[in-house]
Amino acid sequence: MKRAISAIEKRKALPWRKVLRGIALSILLSLCGGAPVFAQESGAPINLVDSDTIVRFGFPVFLDYMALESIGSPQNGNFADLARSSGFDDSAGGKYLETGVILQGIGLNIPSAGDGELLFIQNAQALSGGMPAAAGNFLAIAHRDGFISLYSAKDFIPSSASKTEIRKGDSIGIAARAPGSENANYLFRLYDGKSRLWANPALFIQGFNDSVSPKITQIALLGEKETYIAENRKNVTQMIPQGSYLLAVSVVDPRYRNESISGLFRLKAVLNGQIIADKKLDAARVTENGLSFMEMQAPSSNSVDKAGRLLLGKQFLPSGKHTLEVFAYDYAGNEAKFTWQFSAR
């Protein structure tokens, strides 16, 4: 089956964007063992091309359903912030990561991302068995090729279940006005049922107006007993014991004026000139144990530590001087780099 992503194909991409797009697609293809990821023969089942109303983007993003005003803050718009603020912390599982991005509605209306059929409406305080409806009201639309799009928002009132055939752009409900805006913001999630992936909707959006680089706010090496935080003080070389460490990184993708936030897309770590991690945030794979982000083992709590830092894998550090370079890219192609020189003994 011929597959393409028209949203991306239509994008007037800059050369570096094309490179990133190629990387994204190749990763998506590799995630599916070579099988195409986003099924379509003509036209896209999901089409966010016309979304010139993107206010923020991140995959995934944390959403506090009880206080969705928080999505008005740019700092919450990316993956790393999600991890920090997800708030769900238990003694065993730690924090978790959640798929989704925040988009802006048309006024208070939440538009459908594509033609489809109403699959599920949650418009009650409890699930069928009595569990609290923790995600609040939400609505799911089944599209062709196995895609399901999910919509939720603060004070979201889904449209009636009597209308089951939905066209792209139809209002599927209304939500509360975002602080300081005339529009509602909503959480958008995209599930590819055929590939069993939560897809990063960035792949369906063109024209991110994001000129600001992500910001690497912390690099840490997590040892069995101690954690070492990178410091870049002049004339001081940090010393750490030799041994195995988990590399943990905190990144934010800030916003500049009225620009969009395209969201953290890729993290790369280079140790002494050798790439030790190159992780993309293009999709989360569904496994029997939960969600696998960045090719880490599911559940998603394996991809983030209790301090909310993203985990890039384990590395043995022998005695000697080391140079660790961490690169972070947002989806618009902006790059940030942090270089840490330290010694192990």
Partner: protein, 292 residues
């Protein structure tokens, strides 16, 4: 008015002492104002977990805000187990030793008391719906039978029976109409009957006869919401919301034995030793189920 409340309260106090007998008719025995701010302490206060607490069958759960994972804790708040699902939970059923979870992607997970997945059911491999989604689920207390409302185009009322280490589909009833929101399904206490609302009417499965049927379409079909709770050995009490009207009633062995209108503000049912209680925002209506 005050006298009436006082008399009703007195009547309730007197009648509430009477034990429940095997019953077939229902009598309102009193109504009382709901006292706000229960003195009962929350078992979740000790839990260092953020989420939505829920208790069922003396088990304590914290549901994740994205509705895609949960943790079971002990009564003192200490951790028991945690799980993350691939897609959001759309239906749940919890017994003393098992729990069943229906997911948006149409799959069903059956977990034991330590959170292990003992069965992963995939209705899409057995019935042909255009889209999969689980709209309702119930597991019998002994885990022998699982009932589910599944799929779109068409929708099915499915029954799985325990078969060795797994479950086998033993009944699938194709429905003419379909719901798009969660529906409550329940098993009777003896595990012999499962019921649940569908868009065609009330679906009933008789375990002994291995038969499912749709009954009382006039009352239960169409746009409505149904809460249902097992009562006695083989009965169910229900609360049916149709538009701004509310009805309650009793079903025994799949037969509707009582149906009557109730206060439009009634929102929940609670089963008690001597009958059941319907609670609205400000009032609680206590019913005794008496012998015929």
């Amino acid at each position: 008015m005050g006298w009436a409340i006082m008399m009703a309260s007195l009547l309730y106090i007197l009648l509430a002492q009477r034990s429940l007998v095997q019953t077939q008719t229902i009598t309102l025995i009193g109504a009382q104002p709901v006292v706000e701010g229960s003195a009962a302490t929350s078992p979740f206060q000790a839990a260092p977990i953020f989420g939505f607490p829920y208790t069922e069958n003396s088990r304590f759960f914290i549901l994740r805000p994205d509705q895609q994972g949960l943790t079971e804790i002990k009564k003192d708040g200490s951790f028991l187990w945690s799980i993350e699902f691939g897609t959001p939970i759309t239906a749940d059923s919890i017994s003393a030793s098992l729990s069943a979870w229906g997911l948006l992607d149409g799959s069903i997970k059956i977990l034991d008391e330590v959170g292990r997945i003992i069965a992963a059911l995939n209705p899409s491999s057995e019935v042909a719906s255009k889209y999969g989604c689980v709209y309702g689920i119930a597991v019998s207390s002994n885990g022998a039978i699982v009932a589910a409302l599944y799929g779109i185009d068409p929708q099915y009322f499915l029954i799985y029976a325990k078969n060795g280490d797994g479950y086998r589909l033993v009944s699938s009833r194709k429905l003419d109409k379909q719901v798009r929101n969660a529906q409550e399904l329940a098993f009777s206490t003896d595990g012999e009957f499962a019921i649940g609302r569908t868009a065609d009417g009330l679906a009933v499965y008789d375990v002994a006869k291995k038969q499912s049927k749709i009954v009382h379409p006039a009352d239960f079909a169409g746009e409505a919401e149904l809460q249902v709770k097992p009562i006695g050995k083989d009965g169910f009490v229900f609360l049916l919301a149709k538009g701004d009207k509310r009805f309650s009633g009793l079903i025994r062995k799949g037969a509707l034995e009582a149906l009557f209108p109730v206060d439009g503000a009634v929102a929940s049912i609670r089963i008690e030793e001597s009958g059941f209680l319907l609670a609205s925002g400000n009032w609680a209506y206590r019913y005794k189920v008496s012998a015929r």
